[in-house]
Subunit: 182 residues, 2 copies
């Protein structure tokens, strides 16, 4: 029972920390809010996870694992991949925000093994495309797929005229044009 309770407690902390970090980033996150939300305590959080950076890394690693699991990469059909990635970020804005905080606030960390491995495999699979360097193609496709989540807030009013289906269509069509040969 003790082991099971500890597991449940860890899960509650991770869930609360995911919401807190997605909303406020690392510097802005408050461990007392995470503790209250998780019905835990700061002492227990630190005992389980170490420090705030380590808790963020646990949250982000889990988010990356879920994303990689949910969004299958396909070097032979990049428009479809971009559409899946668009869907995932539209359904899970927290995942996209965590990625952005990670880039801004943890740029010199050791790097996540899952991310390094996914990048490596993708770049390798993209070698068949000859008009862009594989790294460039991956950069462009990911930027296009996540473009609707990166617009400034002032843009939201104008962008509200474009519904989700049309946003998805523009993403898929943009990547189709990018990868069309001839």
């Amino acid at each position: 029972m003790v082991v099971r309770d500890a597991e449940a407690s860890r899960r509650r902390i991770l869930r609360a920390a995911t919401a807190e970090f997605a909303e406020h980033g690392i510097a802005g996150a408050r461990m007392d809010r995470v503790a209250a939300q998780a019905e835990s305590s700061k002492e227990r959080i630190y005992a389980y996870f170490g420090n705030k950076d380590a808790l963020f890394d646990a949250v982000f690693t889990a988010s990356v694992d879920r994303t990689l699991e949910a969004v299958a990469f396909d070097a032979d059909d990049l428009p479809a991949y971009a559409g899946r990635m668009f869907d995932y970020f539209a359904d899970h804005p927290d995942a996209q925000r965590l990625t952005t905080w990670y880039r801004l606030e943890r740029p010199t960390g050791p790097g996540l093994r899952a991310v390094i491995e996914a990048n490596r495999a993708r770049v390798e699979a993209l070698a068949k495309h000859t008009d862009f360097a594989p790294v460039a193609l991956l950069t462009l496709v990911q930027a296009i797929a996540s473009s609707w989540g990166t617009m400034n807030p002032e843009f939201a009013g104008a962008a509200s005229t474009v519904d989700r289906a049309e946003r998805r269509r523009t993403v898929v069509e943009a990547v189709r044009r990018l990868t069309e040969t001839g």
Copy 2:
């Protein structure tokens, strides 16, 4: 002399705050570091600018004004526009980071008049393009132009094989394919 000193002091604070916010964001910024760097004091900073959010808004507004001034928009030559935007962000990574912090940390502010006005004028100018909604086209072009600054840190190693000239070429070529008709 007093007026001139106050102006110089404001400028030093803005310069120091620009570096501090670009590096650490709003929540992570430390006013005592800004004060030390600007050879000023926290009291003076608050007297001049109000609070931390207001100081960030002053920093970001100035950065947006410089960007809009430096990067001419051209609805008739979007690839060239994207190339200019790429150059600007490559030369001024702080400007891109400030934009990202703004999106993450100030999503519900009143909105910057300069940004709203620039968006409106651009969307209007893009109405001539018929295969994407103007708002969608602007979203895609800006995402592509800033794509190299939005990759995760793990990617830096792989991406180091693509030099700046090649990065610029991929941005311009991607927007050319996007906007090519027929």
